[in-house]
Amino acid sequence: MKNLKLKAARAEKDWSQQQLADAVHVSRQTVNAIEKGDYNPTIRLCLSISHALGKTLDDLFWEEEINEGEQQS
């Protein structure tokens, strides 16, 4: 699943993927993979990204649980 919250937060700061990658000491491809949902980062990297973008973990990585019953109705 794509992480649009992260992409939006990055865009809000007007940062490129490379800038975010440099800020958290990972490769640009890693940031790209996280945004595309191809890679699940560790909690340590999630924290680094959150700090770098000035957001909380919830802002960037929390997903509301979808209740199957609610989804069907």
């Binding site: 490379q18 490769s27 491809q29 890693t30 993979a33 990297l45």
Partner: protein, 183 residues
């Protein structure tokens, strides 16, 4: 007398190979010592790259196991096709080649500070050395002895592995440049 000459020849060969391995170990030790004295950090990979490198290593290991298994069946079915040890070494090259290409494909080969141009030049040098050495060996004795692939084929085979790696790295670098900053 012929037998003694043959034994001496094999000893020279073995000593030559040992000297090559020793030179390699010394060269790597000098490289890392110089790097450390210059205050350069060891190559750093990020967590995604570490995971992917681990996976590639695991798969390369199984590629080697499969190769050895297939080779043993081939040898049992049609007989030996290479001199003692050569077939195993070629299998190691196949596994290393698989590891390198797999890492390049997933952006996990180069550490964060490393530039592809440096490795492209390095791989090209190994290819050229492999080609020259292979040509000299081929002209000297050829790659077959009594119908079996001999040790002369090892260096050109190593060159082929690095040629494949060079192509993979070049293609991947161009593709990465084309894919833009933000997909």
């Amino acid at each position: 007398v012929e037998e003694i000459k043959g034994v001496n020849y094999m000893n020279e060969r073995s000593l030559g190979m040992l000297a090559g391995v020793f030179t390699g170990v010394v060269a790597v030790a000098i490289y890392f010592t110089v790097r450390r004295r210059m205050g350069k950090k060891n190559d750093e990979y990020d967590e995604r790259q570490m995971v992917l490198r681990g996976r590639a290593f695991q798969k390369a290991f199984f590629v080697l196991i499969f190769y050895l298994f297939a080779n043993s069946i081939l040898c049992a079915a049609v007989g030996e096709w290479a001199q003692n040890g050569v077939d195993g070494l070629l299998g190691v090259f196949v596994a290393i080649g698989y590891f390198i290409v797999s890492c390049i494909h997933t952006n996990a080969y180069l550490a964060l500070q490393q530039k592809p141009q440096y490795y492209q030049r390095l791989f090209a040098i190994v290819c050229v050395v492999g080609a020259f050495s292979g040509y000299a060996n081929w002209k000297d004795e050829g790659f077959l002895t009594d119908g079996l692939v001999n040790t002369n084929a090892i260096i050109p085979a190593c060159g082929v592995v690095f040629l494949v790696a060079l192509i993979a790295l070049t293609v991947h670098t161009h593709r990465r440049e084309d894919d833009g900053e933000d997909e």
